[in-house]
Each structure stands twice: as C-alpha cells, then as structure tokens.
Amino acid sequence: MKLLHLISWQYTRKHGLRTVLTMVGIVLGVAVFVGMHTANQSVLVAFHKTVNRIAGATELQITAGEPGFAEEILEKVQSIPEVRVAVPVIEASINPKLKTPGNILVLAVDMTGDSSLRDYDLDDGGEAVIDDPLIFLAQPDSLMVTREFAKANGLAINSKVSMETMQGPKTFTVRGIMKSGGLTSAFGGNLAVMDVYAAQKVFGRGRRFDRIDLALQEGIGVDVGRKKLEQILGPGFQVETPAARGKQFESLSSVYGMMANLTSLFALFIGMFIIYNSFAIAVTQRRKEIGILRALGATQGQIQTLFLIESAILGLFGSVAGVALGVLIARGMARGLGDFLGEIYGVAQRADELSTDTRLLAFSLALGVLTSLIAAWIPARSAARVDPVQALQKGRYQQLTTGENRVRAVAAVVFAALAIGLAMVGGGPFFFYGGYLSAVVAALMVTPWAAVWLSWMLRPLLRLIRPVEGALAVDSLIQSPRRTSGTVAALMLSLALVISLGGLTRASYDSLNQWMSVGLNPDLFLSPSQSISDRSYHFPAEIVDQVKAIDGVRTAQGVRTVRVNYRNEPIMIVTADVAAISGEAKLPATAGLHEDMYPKAAAGEGVILSDNLANLQKLKLGEMMELESPNGPLRLPIVGIVLDYSDQKGTVLIDRKVYMEKWKDDTYNVIRIYLKPGADVVTVRQALLERFSSGLKVFVFTNKDIRDYVVKITDQWFGLTYIQLAVAVLVAVLGIVNTLTVSITDRRRELGVLQAVGALRNQIRQTVWLEAIAIGLVGLALGLGLGAIALYYSLEFTARDFAGMRLEYKYPWAMAAFLLPVILGSALLAAIGPAESAVRGSLVEALEYE
C-alpha cells in the first residue's frame, strides 16, 4: 500500500488529465449500462406495479390475445365451482387531452361486483367513493378517477372530461374519486375506472371483453384453479397469474434490453482498449522506475499487483462516476423507452419513477472494475517482466519485439481462418457468433501491424503536405505502435459498428420503401384512432360498405390486425378479404407463387406468412401452422411466404371468414381505400370525414401520412441505435486525446529540437494535428474495412435472431464518405489540447528531457 502511494499516486497526480481521460471510457460504458438497464427496469417495474395494483385480489386472469372474447365466457367461468368471483375487464390507454400530459389507462370493470376484487374505497371513513353507484351505472358517461389525477387536472365530482370514443369525442362526467393508495398508484395515478358495458360501446368492442379477472374459492390453489380453467376453456385462452402477464411485456421489451447490453458492452469494450493503452504507455514510461524498484528488491508479483491495484482503483472510480451518470440519464431514457414501447406495441405503461436495483448497480461496479483489470492485465504482466538492467539503460523501448509480432501474426491468421471457416460452415448460433468473434479478434490482432503498415503508406502523402511536420507525425506513429494501436483499435471497432449499423439502417429503409411501394399502395387509410398502430378502438363490420358508397372511392378493404400468442411470442394476425386485398397489392414472395398462394388463402385453405415470421419461427412453405383460438385450434398449411415488414415479431395473413369463425370478431381497425382514377384525394378525404362526422369516430390518413409514420417509427427505432454510435465515437475520440497527450510527452525532445532549429509554434501544432489526422486516417481505413465484415454479421444477426428480416448487403458508401470528415474533424478537435500543451513549456527542459 505504501508502494502504491509512493509510486502510483505520484504518477497519477502528475498525469491527472490523462487519468481522467482513461477513466472516461469506463464511466461511459458503465453509465450507458446502468442508464439503459435502469430505464428498462423502471418501465418493467412500472408495468408490473400497474398490473399488480390493478390486479388487487385477482389470482388469475383469462385472456385470449388481443381480439378478446365473447361475453358468454364470463358466465361459463362464473359457474365453475372453484371460482369465487370472476369479473370482466376492458383496458384501454387513451389520451384525454388534459393538463397531465400523456395517456391515461382506462380500466373498465363491472362495478356491481368488482369491489370484491379491487378496493376502490380506501378511506376508513366509510364514505362511498362513488357518489351514487346507481347513477354511475345508469349513466354510461360515468368515470371514476384517482384523487391525484383529479387534483392535477382540477377535477371534482361532476366535472366533465372529454375523451375520444367510437362516436367521436364525448364528454364524460367524473362520478367518483378514488382515495389514495393501492389501485390509485397504478399507471402513475393516471387511471380512470368506468363501467365495462359502457366501455364496450365507447371503444367499439361489441359484446366482448378483453379479460376476466378472478379469485378462487378459499382453499383452492392457483395451480389447481388454473388447470381446471384451462381444461374447461381450451387452448385458445391463456389463464395466467397477473405477474405472468408482466412476463409478456418483458418479452416485448427484451429486444431493447439486448440493445442496452450490446451498447454498453461495446462502450466498455472500447473503454477497455483505452485503459489497456494507457497502462501500456504508463508501463513504458515508468520503465526506469520499475527497473529501480526491481533493483531495490521488488518481486515480479509485487510489480504486477501494483499495476493491477492501480487499474482496479481507476476502474472503481470510473464505475462509481458511471453509475451516478447512468442513474442521471436513466430518467430521460425511461420516458423515451416508455413512449417507444407504447407506440410500437400499444402497451400501456408509464415509468414515472426510477427503480434502481442495488444488484444492478453492484454488478455495474464489478463490471467496470473487471473491465479495467482485464485491460491492465497484459501491461501489468509486461511491467513485471521488465529487466532491471535494461530498464536502467538509456535507449529506445517503444518498438514491438519481433517475437510479439510473430505471435500476433500467427494468432491473426488462425482467427481469420477460423472466422472464414465458421462462416462457410454456417448453421447454429455457436458457429455464427464464434465466427463473428473470431473475425473481430483477428482484426484486433492484426491492428498493430496494420497500423504501422498504413502509416508507412501515409508517410509520402503527409510529407507532400508538410515535409517535416507530416513526416515526423507519421514517424511518431510508426515508432510507437504500442502507444497508437490501442487507440486505433478502439477507433476501428467503433467505426466498424457505425458502418454495420449504417448499412443495416440503409438496408432497412430500402426494404421498407420497397415494401411500402408495393404493399402500402391504397390512396387513403381510415382508422378509428389517431395512431395507426393503436388497436384500442375498432370499426363495426358495416363500415366497409359505407366507405365504398362514397363518391370517388373505387374500392375499400377492411383489415383487422390483432396480436396473438404463437409459441409464446406475440405475433400479428392480419386478416382481411384476401381475394380483394391481393387484387390490389401482392407482396414480393420469397417462397411459393402468387397465383397459388392468394387463391388458396382466399379460399381459407392456407395462410401466408411474412418472411420474418418464417425466419424467426423456422417455418417453411407447406408446413402446417397451428394457431390457438377461443373456438378451438386453427390448423392451416403455409401456402406462401412474402416480404412484409408490418411487424417486428412477424405477421400471418388469414382470410377474414376463417378469422371470424375462430375468433368471432367482425370488427376492423384499418380500412384501405382506393380511389377512382381522377378522383381527388383531398375531396374524398373530406367526404369521408363528413360521412362519419356524426356517429363514428374516424381518422383519415393519406398514403403519404402512413409512409411518413412508418419512417418515423423506423427513425425512432434507429434513434436508439444512434446513442450507441455517439458513445462509440466519443470514446474513440477520447482515446485519440489520450494517445496524443502521451505522444507529445514522448516527442517532447523531438519537438524541442525542432523549435531549436527554427520551427515556429504553428509548425509544432501542425505536427501534432497531423499525428491526430494520421491516427484518424489509419483508424478510418481499418474501421471501414472491418465495418464491411461487421455489416455482414449484423445483417445475418437481424435475419437470424432479431427481426427475422433478410436484408440486402449494400456497403454504406455515403456513410463512409460522411465519416471521413467527421472522424478527421473529431481527431483535429481532439488534437487541440495536446497541440497547445506541446508549444507551451520550457525548451531547455525539453532538450534535456529523456
């Protein structure tokens, strides 16, 4: 410990800025990890809390996917002797446009019996929360809100609240205010309770419920009750505890969690290189000191321990700062994530408070320290191996030994061969990810050598620009591969990530555009809600004929999309009159023939899958697909597979007749409208709005609106990934600052000589800038190269494990071209500080410096 204080602390103090820069990699990595996971966790906890609070005494919940089920099921459930109480529920998330921003969760229940499950009256005074229960039931506009919500929006008993309904905006009356506690804290207090039968009308659900909440007779175990219910209801229904419902939500947000892991691991990985770099530099710089220590009797173990402890402390400080920063950024992330999940999956939740998990924080600390330790391992070992005699002699020590080079070269070749071999074998995830890893390791192994080689290539170019400054800048890189290669590797990795994401993004947009131009070709879309992906409201069946009757409309097709469970994944059923739909739009087939699949599907003799569903679920043309429904299983052969990007989890197209028979649901949530030739979009849009101005609530979207919406959603999705890029580039730039800071120390004498023989300050600055540019160029060259490989793997990953989408490989040249100035600019920016400190300081000392 004494040693640590004497040696390490002095050094650290002297190189304060560099220590901080080194730590930044860990700080960012840990911060992103903590931030994203805390956000994810908070959203999940908020959702669980909402589910639990709303559940009250509910022991089991019965659902049948998004379509819900007919009312009769309720009586069937209530008549089961094991069931003590069973109540119907409809849940919807709507925007009441009040002072409190965002959506509120509407919980619609049967008020006559619901109080045995949920306690609405939490005040011990015994005063009924609902002013008059009979009026509440008699008037369908009755609403009960939480006290907090009432307060925030200045509502009292008999206040009016306007909400969208299937009959257009409608005024509701607050007829009850819930006292604080339990239920009222669900959904952040933004909760309204109404009568379930009124809700059926308001949300256009027909005589259907979303869910049945139930409690069992005393002494009946949950498992027993569940088995009994499953046996009576059949496989079309899910009988689960409220907690298990949270699990489904988790599966929706799991993709995001994976993203969070990838991003933070990437940041940490890059951070690791920076730490490695710093320690490698420190070891060479402190070689003499180490030599003296060894000469004075320190053992190899002591030296190694010294450096490892140093790195652990560094890691610890960095992690602590990272955790703090992570918690800070989590709130914003949680909000964004909440909105995002709400928009994409239409799942109602709100994360208004952060839930920080001590275990997560502890894990993050450990992760940061561990990263730091791993990074310092090799430098610490080489410090321990310093030969005291050689160390005390003057001389050059920066160059890699040939032995080291050979080991690297062999390793690089082995890993490269492994990567190619595994890519050719293909198959299981082991081969795939193993191949990816091998490719990255090979690239890392080859980096020091490649960096030197590229620098040689650059030398004439830079000499041309600045004969002395340029040549010396490159020489500085060539002379110190150990100093440079860590940073170059970090830069290479982040650029590879940028390129692979850029390529992925571009391929996604290209595919989306292609799909939109084929599949999304109606002129107008009619939706019962403001958001096309919201499925809270439905249209009645007769609307299609009403739309068709409107002047200028050539034809209209009703589509119903519902999420159902298939092998525990929430996939999307798209149901429509297949014959009509295929007349207007045929999606590009990846398996099967159009002439074959659409007639068969239209005849109810088969289903058509989206390519991504087929990929994700490993389904093939001709196989039997079995979907559970409330009225028995639906078994149909897969007659075609088409490119359809409607849903991340995949879609299955089923003819409307088949769907109605199995799900007893004749509603629509989108109407696709084609206009007569020459008909004006604006005029027809107006006609539609007028036709439904009283009665139904409709929103009319033009083709462009929908396309913009799809692009917006995609933007949001990729927006998340851009955080990744920002972090990666930032960390890499910090690496450049770090390297340059060390470089100007190493080059102090050289720069002194230059000044002594007549270099002006600007000429000194230029050589530092040029060194940064050179690092940037080398990093770019390697990064853009590795990016080509990484892109291949990300496309494979997308197809294989993520969205199931096969995207075309197109190298993002535009992005590469864009990166060139960005990275060189950042490198220059990174060089400003070091360049200034290079021209400061005493020339005499510099000339004597060793």
């Binding site: 002594a756 023989v757 007549g758 002006l760 300050r761 005493s842 005499v844």
Partner: protein
Amino acid sequence: MIELTGVQKHFEGKKRVTALAGVNLKIEKGEMVALVGPSGSGKSTLLNLIGGLDRPTAGDIRLDGQLLSGLNDDDLTRVRRDKIGFIFQFFNLLPTLSCIENVALPLHLRNWPSTKIRERALELLGLVNLNHRLDHLPEELSGGERQRVAIARALSVYPPVLLADEPTGNLDSATGAEILKLMRDVNERLGATVLVVTHDRGVADSCSRQISLRDGLVIEDLRRENVRK
C-alpha cells in the same frame, strides 16, 4: 555581435536557484569563444540565453544589435533560425529521419523549395565529409559521424553564430579532435562566431578567447593570440 548587459537568470522552484548573477559580456563577430567552468557555474544557461532557447530574468541580450528580450516566441524563433546554429552534446538528431533529412530539417521549416533544399543539404554534407551517408539513419552512424551531421544541420543557413554545448563530451578524444577541427574550419572559413561550452581543456585551449564562469559570474576573460592548432 553578441552583447550581454547585467544578465541574470534565476530558476524558481521550491528554492530559488541563481544560475547567472549578472553577466556583462561582449563577443565580436568571428571570435571563437570557449565558455568554461565547473558544473553549475551557469555556462550552459548562458549559452541557452544567447541562443534564445530561454529568457533572462533580468538584463539585456543583443544579437547583431537586436534586443532579444522584446521579442515574442515566434519572433525569437525567427531570429534563432536565421542567425544561430546549435550543436548539442547528445547530437539531438531525429532518429526517424535520414542524414540528409536531418540536415534539411531547418530548411524545410523555412519553407525553402525542395530542389534548393537538396542542393544545400548535399553541399553541407560535403562540407562535413558525409556525402556517402546521405540516406542512412542516425542509428547507423558512429558518434563522430552523428555530430558531423548535427554540425551540418546547424550550418544549414550559414548562420552568423554557432553555439555548441559540450560538442565533444560524448565522443572519444580522436573523434573529438576531428569535430573540433571542423568547428574551427567553420569559424575560419565561413567567418561564423562560435561559442563552445566545454569541460575539455583541449577544446578550450584551441579557442581564441576563454571565458571562465563560477557561481553565475564571469571570473576570467582570457584572449590569446597564439591558438593551438
């Protein structure tokens, strides 16, 4: 040529160290002066101040009539690169550059056209008898050869003043004598004013003037007519 009036130099640190306590000195054009004295007497400091590598705490230094203390860093550098050539004990060649590149360095910094640079560099290397080593790196040369390259570099623009800090300190005596001869050649043939800081009696004796310093003050200033050749 070089004129110092009341030059003091103190180094501020935990303890104030006086390197020069007040030096008055006048060196004429074409003189070859040896600065001698024990370690810490202030001779290297004096050389650095004259060369504009450092600034005095008090007093004035004039070079060719120009007052150095009034100049900013870059102007000081301009004076240095036009009027002064440096020769160091440890040569201070840039290890990654070849002989000719090292010699050409100051010319590049002056943005000379490259053909002219090459012409001059070849001329200089001829002067120090190293035409056969143009593309060698410093580490491939002997100590004497390295110092010759350094001298060639110092002469690149034929500066009126040549400053040498222990130029033979790192060389064996034979090579040292060779270097000394070269420097005297420069002094005589090119008419450059030469200032040499040295411990070496032999070097000191071969100079036309010998200035001794002790504790930051000039204690002896000898001129001799018969210089040992």
